[in-house]
């Protein structure tokens, strides 16, 4: 095609190239390389098309700068007659007017804008997508439908969903905001409405699952003790003499018990006097092995022992026939005697019926007594703290004020013990929580002691 264009251009009479083109002689002159021309590849490679390219570039250039080929334009549009300076003067006169009007600088566009302004005379190609929408028809139809529905007052589903969610959110947030320990929280009549049974059919239908029943054993109290144990009458702030004495006695007994245990432990831990080294034992230890012991004495009893054991072994000898027969007969006789004895005893028991009855009765009574005792013990056990974990329950110290600690009046009263601790211990005593110990602080990283320089100077 380039060739065709070239030919066409060459045939045109008024064609003028703007740029000085390379001489045709250059193309012809020089040694040409011989190449086979039966291959398309070679044609493409070795045929010279610069002239055509140049020409086309020139055409494009003309179009860009002047808006068309110069050759096709009329002479009027290309040339004008130069009549001197009159025109220019007019122009100069007109310009200041404009400048006055628009106040100079603001009228002139910035140079950067000018540079950026396109100077091509060819209008840009049309963008089809600028005024064509994909799926336009469908969208238009949908919009029309929505308009119709809106006119009718129907809210689209998505919007409805949004609206719904917004309302729900608001209520949820209000409920969430109130903490459990809010001091202004409100209460209602909880026990007014009938409680739904766990297998309520409506409930099951709505929620799709049965409510879980609370195990009956959970409603039993783990201890028979009352929640608040009132202190003994001796614990009054102004107690009666005897009850105060009774309380002191009780506290005293507790202390004595504690002391006894401590003493016992101490005694067990004390070093035995016999284990202590004396001068004598020390000396004996030093000379051990140096002095010959009388080994003979030790060895002689050993020998006797050995003899005795040997004798025991040798006793077993084979029995004779006679002996065996005799033994058999004896055995039989013994058994006979036994059976006879048994029979007589049974016969005699018939006459002992009364005493036997009494014995049985006694036994039963004893069993009953034991049973009741066990029952009692079990009852007592119910009020006792159980062993629920690693640690045993330890009863708190009794709150006691000595005679001289007691205050004369309510104003001077010094409260004894802590109620918080009392409540905590009560919870433990009633088996509601297991007794625990405060976790010990354990250092993870080793502490390094370094003497500071200031101290070092002093020491």
């Amino acid at each position: 095609s380039s060739r065709r264009l070239r030919r066409m251009a060459a045939s045109q009479p008024g064609f003028l190239t703007l740029k000085p083109s390379s001489d045709p002689t250059d193309l012809v002159g020089g040694r040409r390389k011989r190449v086979n021309k039966n291959k398309k590849k070679n044609w493409n490679k070795f045929s010279d098309i610069t002239d055509v390219e140049e020409f086309l570039e020139d055409v494009r250039h003309q179009e860009r700068t002047t808006g068309g080929l110069l050759s096709e334009k009329s002479d009027d549009s290309l040339f004008f007659v130069d009549l001197g300076q009159t025109d220019k003067a007019e122009q100069n006169a007109a310009e200041p007017d404009e400048g006055k009007k628009r106040k100079g600088k603001s009228t002139r566009p910035l140079r950067i804008d000018l540079i950026l302004q396109g100077d091509s005379f060819i209008p840009p190609p049309k963008d089809v997508l600028a005024y064509q929408k994909p799926n336009a028809k469908k969208l238009r139809r949908i919009a029309q439908k929505a308009e119709q529905l809106a006119a009718k007052g129907v809210v689209p589903r998505a919007q409805k969903k949004l609206l719904n969610r917004r309302l729900a959110d608001r209520t949820v947030k209000k409920a969430v905001a109130e903490a459990n320990n809010n001091p202004d929280r409100d209460y209602y009549d909880m026990w007014a409405q009938k409680s739904k049974s766990p297998a309520d059919p409506w409930c099951v239908l709505q929620t799709g699952k049965q409510q879980v029943k609370r195990p009956k054993k959970l409603n039993q109290k783990p201890s028979a003790l009352p929640a608040v144990e009132v202190i003994a009458p001796g614990g009054s702030y102004n107690p009666d003499f005897l009850s105060h004495q009774a309380l002191l006695q009780e506290a005293h007994e507790v202390e004595v018990k504690k002391k006894k245990q401590e003493d016992k432990l101490e005694k067990q831990l004390a070093v035995n006097r016999e284990d202590k080294a004396t001068a004598e034992t020390a000396l004996r230890e030093e000379v051990e092995g140096l002095i010959e012991d009388e080994e003979d004495e030790e060895t002689s009893p050993n020998k006797e022992d050995e003899e005795a054991s040997g004798a025991a072994i040798t006793v077993t000898e084979k029995k004779t026939e006679r002996q065996r027969k005799k033994e058999k007969a004896e055995k039989r006789k013994e058994q006979q005697q036994l059976s006879v004895k048994r029979q007589t005893v049974q016969q005699q028991q018939l006459f002992q019926l009364r005493s036997i009855k009494a014995a049985i009765k006694q036994q039963e009574q004893q069993a009953k007594k034991r049973w009741s005792k066990r029952k009692e013990k079990q009852e007592a056990q119910k009020a006792q703290p159980r062993r629920l974990g690693k640690l045993k329950f330890q009863a708190p110290d009794l709150e006691v004020q000595l005679r001289d600690e007691l205050a004369g009046s309510l104003r001077q009263l010094k409260p004894e013990g802590s109620i918080l601790k009392d409540r905590f211990k009560s919870l433990q005593k009633r088996n509601l929580i297991e007794p625990r110990e405060r976790a010990k602080f354990r250092r993870k990283l080793k502490v390094k002691y370094v003497e500071k320089r200031a101290f070092k100077e002093i020491t």
Partner: protein, 581 residues
């Protein structure tokens, strides 16, 4: 033969229990959370009977729970909330670490919370169930409400506890339900009767806290969390049962009375109302304004024999109760600034008295010291200048003792600077034959309407050597005892162990003559009894003798105690005399 081999620990006790750690793992909770959940739901650890079996052969000490309980816990919605909270904390920590303050704000706004209403309902299906378990709740709330706001627990919790306890006290005042008070060295014990249930609670003295270190505050706070919810719902129900407005509102009349110019000095505007409520000096507003309550009289049923006696006893009790409720009616009591204001105001108002205090002590005072109509002033200092003539100046113990004695005790023993009589515990109930302290005997005599004189009490002798058969008979009725005491020649008189009896001999000698027929009747009764004893079988007689012996021994012990007491008193007296000389 054949069959599968039985494996150990796959049936029986071993399958009924679960250790704490495996339960925790099953619930996917941390140990503190698990502990909290158990407390809230009322699931407590168990001690199995055969530990070794349950522990799969090991004897290591472990905490066990019933497996069924733990399975039940799996369905609890609060568990999800715990997990949510855990995540919330994690996110918050992260946001703090990255110093993303807007994220911190947002997270804090959406802090997950939970409610315990459904758990309360589940644990206490009926109102009475809840009421029976309220002792603990009250103790805990009263305790927490006295805590200082120093970060040992949430300030909000303290405020809520305070609010609930004030509501409770106001209810007790309005329903006049208080029965007993006991000032102990630990704190103040109160007992009230609400809807037929005896409720005991312990209130600490003001400002008496040292925080012990061996108490797990987290556990206590969890219990309190549960109990505040419970107490709130109970309060609501109780208020509605009395037609009171809930949350409590002051009566219009009371409100106008309490209007003061200097309210701002005590509390901010927003708080002054609650403060006034907690002053306990005003009555509460009702839903239905009509004040009159019809005195519901017990229905009378025709009854025979024993029932009549029972009915009479019940009626008598009822009457006594009514009288006790109006104990301080018409009294105007002024509290000095050194006495425990809240406790005294609560008690006095519970029994219908009017109470006030100095304006500068607290908000809500109703009248001034200068009021001429004041009948008593509670004072707790050795001397007091500027005394008014027309009022008694008594020590605070008088109020408490009056409540326990159910009568107004003579004020002379409680005057300023007087050594007080001992404060006896009202929670001790003596059985017959037990030792009764003389102070209590005196109060009992006062209750019966007698006026014992101090001097006579001293030179009376104690009764000794008792005849057991008559002894038992003699204790039956106090009225009988009086009559018998008058008959000096009678043998019965000797075994009267109490001092009150011989004292009555001297005070009321004139009543004797009219009651002769009664005495005859008694004698007849005694005769009958003697005959009945004679007719007993050998075995029964043996048992009877045994019982009698036990009683006699008791009396002997009581006498010993009484003698000891007398010796102590004598010693004190001589000491005093010496001191005087």
């Amino acid at each position: 033969m054949g069959g599968l081999q039985k494996k150990k620990f796959e049936r029986g006790a071993a399958t009924n229990y679960i250790t704490r750690n495996s339960a925790r793992k099953k619930l996917q909770l941390s140990l503190p959370d698990f502990r909290r959940l158990c407390i809230l739901k009322g699931v407590y650890p168990h001690e199995p009977k055969h530990k070794k079996k349950v522990n799969k052969g090991s004897t290591a000490p472990r905490t066990f729970y019933l497996l069924k309980d733990i399975r039940f816990l799996l369905h609890e919605p609060v568990v999800h909330k715990f997990r949510e909270y855990k995540i919330f904390v994690r996110k918050l920590k992260r946001a703090y670490g990255k110093t993303e303050w807007s994220a911190v704000e947002r997270l804090k706004e959406n802090k997950p919370t939970y409610k315990l209403d459904h758990i309360v309902k589940e644990r206490y299906p009926t109102f009475i169930d809840a009421l029976r378990d309220i002792d603990d709740a009250l103790c805990m709330c009263f305790l927490f409400s006295t805590f200082a706001r120093t970060g040992k627990c949430h300030v909000q919790t303290i405020q809520l506890c305070r609010r609930l306890t004030v509501e409770w006290m106001n209810y007790v005042i309005t329903s006049r339900a208080l029965r007993k008070v006991f000032l102990s060295i630990k704190g103040i014990y109160y007992q009230a009767e609400v809807m037929g249930q005896l409720i005991t609670w312990l209130v600490p003295y003001q400002f008496s806290h040292d925080h012990p270190t061996d108490v797990d505050y987290r556990v206590m706070a969890t219990f309190t969390e549960m109990y505040t919810t419970l107490l709130g719902f109970i309060n609501f129900k109780l208020y509605h049962s009395l037609n009171l407005v809930y949350p409590p509102k002051m009566d219009i009349q009371a409100e106008s009375e309490l209007k003061e110019e200097f309210e701002e000095d005590y509390a901010m505007n927003s708080e002054s109302y609650t403060e006034k409520l907690s002053a306990l000096s005003g009555s509460l507003a009702r839903v239905v304004s009509t004040e009159e309550e019809e005195e519901g009289k017990l229905d009378q049923f025709p009854a025979e024999g024993e029932d009549v006696e029972k009915m009479e006893a019940r009626e008598k009790e009822q009457k006594q109760l009514e009288a006790q409720k109006k104990l301080f009616d018409g009294l105007k009591i002024f509290l000095n600034r050194e006495v425990p204001r809240e406790s005294l105001a609560f008690i006095i108002r519970c029994f219908g008295g009017q109470v006030s205090w100095d304006k500068s002590v607290s908000i809500g005072s109703t009248f001034d010291v200068t009021d001429e109509t004041i009948t008593h002033q509670i004072v707790d200092r050795p001397n007091f200048d500027k005394q008014y003539i027309n009022r008694y100046y008594v020590q605070p113990q008088w109020v408490y003792d009056c409540v326990n004695a159910k009568i107004l005790l003579p004020v002379e023993d409680y005057f300023l600077g007087v050594t007080l009589p001992p404060h006896l515990s009202p929670f001790v109930e003596e059985k017959e034959g037990d030792y009764v302290p003389p102070e209590k005997l005196r109060i009992m005599a006062l209750q019966r309407g007698e006026k014992p004189a101090q001097e006579q009490e001293e030179d009376e002798e104690e009764g000794e050597e008792d005849d057991d058969e008559e002894e038992e008979e003699g204790d039956d009725d106090e009225v009988d005892e009086e009559e018998k005491a008058e008959e000096k020649n009678l043998k019965k008189m000797e075994e009267q162990k109490s001092q009150g009896k011989s004292l009555q001999v001297k005070v009321t000698p004139g009543k004797v003559k009219a009651e002769n027929p009664a005495r005859l009747e008694q004698e007849e009764k005694a005769e009958e009894k003697r005959l009945a004893i004679m007719m007993m079988k050998k075995k029964e007689k043996y048992l009877y003798d045994k019982i009698m012996f036990g009683k006699k021994r008791k009396v002997r012990e009581a006498n010993k105690l009484a003698a000891k007491r007398k010796a102590h008193d004598d010693a004190e007296k001589t000491k005093k005399k010496k001191a005087r000389k």
